[in-house]
Subunit: 172 residues, 4 copies
């Protein structure tokens, strides 16, 4: 079974954030993990998919719509939900670990839903606020760079069970 | 068509917050609005449903499960989703205005999802943090008391169209 | 707690089916039950909502979209899902008993999902086919008229527990 | 982008149906298509996943639960929805073509939802009934063997656009 790492972040993103997303997408794919995101052709979704696809990675895009309209070109496995923002729940449940780049209300909803379902969240380059730290405790980690994010993912995966089949506990 | 007001907040709540929820639930029902919440028999959900039901109000409970297990006794119209936290999206989309009492990650996800869908959110007695204010702008209002929350709802409803059929714009 | 009866059927319906839907909607409301349907302004949804609303009944419309566009005028409590056809699951889970008028693939999906979740289904004026009878057994009943459908609902409700809080068994 | 073929069928299945599912799963993977199913460790889901995984195929399992409990061992990419039967909608929307083996109410719901969303359905070794043929028209095809099912998929893919990006029309 593949290890799935979610990469969330704003549908609108500045050049710095898009470059961060590309770097993280590439690093995720290079380690053999599957990248999962919201699949749309904009912001962090498009840039992280592009980074992973450029090095031959698998990219699962969980789309809000019921067809391929507006899909990011880097997505290799489109999952069509037709469920709008309710697909945010699927994004975080399907991710063993969520990496959250700067974003708005949608990204905050994903961080909150991930913490509620006990998925660890690594926030890169911003802080979603004190209320989420109170809810998430040690499952919410803030780092500054793509490299630090990947190191944090590796550390969390080692702490979990080796075969990705842990169905409970800290990292699932 | 009834005007539906969502009341969100923690599944765990202290006595002060539960009393606040009861007061708001009662006030919502007394104005003839339908109260909508997550329907579970705990915290803000149970207390707000109880407050509304005590004065004969309609209470729509949008439950995460697929049967009536764990439903709050004040719910008069149970909507069973079987969708877990994905039902949070339904809670906010179905509410013309969301009132958010103190809560954790689930409540923050609902505030974020409401703002993303342009529903106004009135936060009572706490602050969900700067990141949501940046996303929500003037649609996110913070007040201190049940009375102020109800006044804010009335003001927003007056600003919207009179018959509750506005499908876009500031209050829908 | 109100008793919720689901009325499903085609978005396209001929005059005979629309009249059947209106009659059933009116009878549901006259018995004090809440009518629940898919909420759209066409076919069986519009006609059953109109029938119930005309005699002052509560009508819950579980809509596929995320705003009030295309809502049937008889709906008094709109539940907005933004989930497209996934809302069919909510329709049947929320109904103690489903009445299914003639319809196409959407209606068949609702009958199948209802039977899978052990909700009884009363089909009026058509037959959805042998495969569903094999799956549904005695939970799938076929009748010819609105009167027979209402009698069948009453009989099933009497067989269930009196207060509507049974969370398992034949009628939930 | 990968071509995704959905394989649906009963959670309970006899030995003949399980062998059919294994054969179809293997053939799907051998042609380089991604197999998508409901991901559970029983019936057609387990057997088709096993058939595809045995020859190194990618298997997307769209699970009803929110963790890996009860997942089929052949699934390589688990998508966790926490949405129960509402995930049936995702199964069919994400599939360019649905192959439906013998099954009960759940499988019938998937055939109906697929036809409603204009996905072609190839039924193998049984017939879901006249009502679905009326709804599906030429999009619902009945064949007898695994080989015929694969030939039917190939024919439909050739009729569609070459790059898998068609977002409307008969084969999407």
């Amino acid at each position: 079974m593949h290890t799935i790492i979610g990469v969330m972040g704003g549908g609108e993103a500045d050049a710095t954030t898009r470059e961060l997303a590309r770097d993280i997408g590439r690093a995720v794919a290079q380690r053999g993990w599957v990248l999962l995101n919201g699949g749309r052709d904009c912001g962090v979704m498009a840039a992280s998919a592009e980074g992973a696809a450029a090095v031959g990675g698998l990219v699962v895009g969980v789309l809000p719509g019921d067809d391929l309209t507006g899909i990011a070109s880097g997505v290799t496995i489109p999952v069509l939900t037709g469920m709008g923002d309710a697909r945010n729940v699927i994004n975080v449940l399907s991710s063993r670990i969520v990496i959250a780049l700067p974003g708005g209300a949608g990204t905050i909803s994903e961080i909150a839903l991930a913490l509620k379902s006990s998925r660890p969240v690594i926030v890169v380059g911003w802080d979603p606020g004190e209320a989420l730290h109170r809810s998430g405790g040690s499952r919410l980690v803030v780092v500054d760079t793509a490299e630090e994010a990947i190191v944090a993912v590796e550390r969390l995966l080692v702490q979990g069970t080796a075969d990705g089949r842990d169905t409970g506990g800290a990292t699932r």
